[in-house]
Chain length 371, copies 2
């Protein structure tokens, strides 16, 4: 099945291992099991060394599902299933529910999987183009104009990658009203949920407000454990059952070790999220004060998530810009072109020391473009 | 995308946790990391506790790919990519290379993913029906009759699940000649490769004999580590590149911990395979002598793999048979109907003690059907 190259992922794979200042990373500085041990009474090492590594709980343990439910207002274990990261969670939702000829509505820019994966399944896709002038926010009118009788799913990513924009609750409710009129699913990839530096709480989840909402998340971003490759899906009991049936063709299980470790991460989430909030908050402060003195770069700084989208006033395509910058300074960005938007760079609020050292160096490098 | 229920997997999920004698398990008794530590000099626990759990090597580490290459006669690291188990490896191959309208040829019975996954992608599927009288072996004539101008892929599972049949090298070579005439891929799920109790060596891999062969395998069966969820694909450099591009939409990476542990398993494979050979060999001896005295059951015992397919001479559908047997004795089988073949049971050669105790109990239970 033909599909467009996943530009942000291939760029990351090709460039991330050769950089000195990673200013584009989306995961809050990853932790180790020794870091996790500090919050946990039981001996992690002893448990995982003695565990029989059979397939483990096929659709995830009840303990893990209970831990996941603590992130939401509503739901039971029957509303949750486990996946190999949020990427696989999104895949499972779309391949289970979409058919060739279905129409879906998505945002642009956003995570490419949300529109190019359904396209590869033979779906028709309408894209709502976001603009920086409107703080990267869509309007309900934008959605109304896209909806059709065969619209099966609205595919979102909130907080959005790369812009960081989070849809406010009032907007979510209006969108749900519209979706109900078309008996349409809302899939929201909520992988960046969890570090709102203004409210200090998690923003609302679509799954708590609409029966036909399906949300995905993982341990990768605010939980700092991307290496566990553990994501999940929350949806209606019927949707979860359909996905569990499909899932046997894709992953079988997550394995008992990752299931157990994910329980420990989520059961100790207050420590981990507190650290992530601190890191993202400090990063935003440094970014804000840097933006005040850097006339060639601007940005809509979001309330939540771990990324935002820098705009640069230099007449150079973003791929060329990023490659030159990385070659000459070791500073690593994902170019806006990987999201279909030129003259932008995805900025990650996750690596505090690299941001502290990297931003002044970036400014120094930018001086060659002053007129 | 509609797909048939994956019958063997849903049966396993629903029944495997409530049994006393698992006589159907396909993985040679799973091991723990403490078991692995016996073969390894370095301190596994120390390494995994201190490892930063970021995404890790995106397409798998070179060390892991080198370890995988030791299972084949040919190839370089560019011929290998990593997946979440063999199930995900098969998915990645098929979703990357097949298009709606393509024709594929597969065997029946065999692993259901091999024919129902491509069908869900819109492919046409021709099935070659295997018969017990011919020792579950297809003929080249069977394949010739199925081939069409739009045949894109021959999808096999050798050694086969559930019959255990392994295609001999002479047959493989004839099939390759036929595939070349149609410029057709051969996908062979070789997950059961590795425990040939006759030759004591691994049977040949399609990937060592044909440029357009793609093979998959994992740590689940003969390597006794299904819980690591680590599989791989070996194919031409071009195919691996296409799959790596697609892979970003499905799993991103396997995570650094599973990558590292998989290296240790494969670097110490001689110990693990020796144990698996012993277990399967002993199991076959017990099964053979049991079959000699059990007149209601017969079986084609295969040379390789960890499963075979028992035929029972009782007039009862296999689902009813298995449920009654499990309820009354705790003996667990997958019914033949999960593979589309009635009056059969999938037998696993993997749990030696359960086989020793379970088979006499099974005979005792069967006496009610004597005429």
């Amino acid at each position: 099945m033909k599909i467009a190259e996943f530009e942000v992922e291939t760029w990351m794979t090709d460039h991330e291992n050769h950089c000195r200042y990673n200013l584009t990373e989306t995961c809050v500085s990853s932790l180790s099991l020794n870091d996790l041990q500090k919050y946990v009474q039981e001996d992690i090492s002893k448990t995982i060394m003695s565990m029989t590594l059979d397939y483990g709980p096929i659709v995830g343990s009840s303990r893990l599902k209970q831990a996941i439910l603590s992130l939401y207002e509503t739901g039971t274990v029957e509303n949750i299933t486990i996946a190999h990261g949020a990427i696989n969670a999104n895949e499972l939702v779309m391949i289970s529910l979409l058919e060739p000829g279905d129409h879906i509505v998505s945002l642009f820019p956003s995570y490419q999987q949300m529109y190019d994966f359904p396209k590869s399944l033979g779906c028709e896709v309408s894209l709502i183009h976001l603009s920086e002038e409107k703080k990267w926010m869509p309007t309900i009118e934008d959605f109304k104009q896209c909806m059709r009788n065969n619209t099966k799913m609205i595919c979102l990513n909130s907080p959005n990658n790369p812009t960081g924009t989070t849809l406010p609750l009032s907007f979510m409710k209006e969108l749900i009203t519209l979706a109900k009129d078309f008996d349409c699913y809302i899939l929201c990839d909520e992988i960046y949920r969890g570090v709102n530096t203004i409210t200090q709480t998690m923003s609302p989840s679509f799954s708590d407000y609409y029966e036909k909402a399906i949300v995905t998340q993982s341990l990768s971003k605010v939980f700092s454990f991307p290496g566990l490759r553990l994501g999940w899906i929350k949806g209606s009991k019927e949707v979860v059952h359909t996905i569990d049936m499909r899932r046997d063709y894709h992953i079988i299980s997550s394995g008992p070790m990752d299931d157990y470790l994910a329980c420990l991460v989520l059961e100790n989430k207050e420590h981990i999220i507190k650290r992530s909030l601190y890191i993202c908050d400090e990063s935003k402060k440094i970014l804000k004060s840097w933006l005040e003195q850097e006339h060639l770069v601007s940005c809509v700084i979001p309330d939540e998530g771990t990324v935002c989208f820098l705009k640069y006033e230099v007449d150079m395509p973003s791929i060329e810009f990023c490659e030159k910058l990385q070659a000459e300074t070791g500073i690593f960005f994902v170019p806006g072109s990987a999201f279909g938007v030129e003259n932008h760079l995805r900025f990650g609020l996750t690596h505090l020391n690299e941001i502290k050292e990297g931003l002044p160096l970036f400014s120094q490098w930018l001086r060659q473009f002053d007129k």
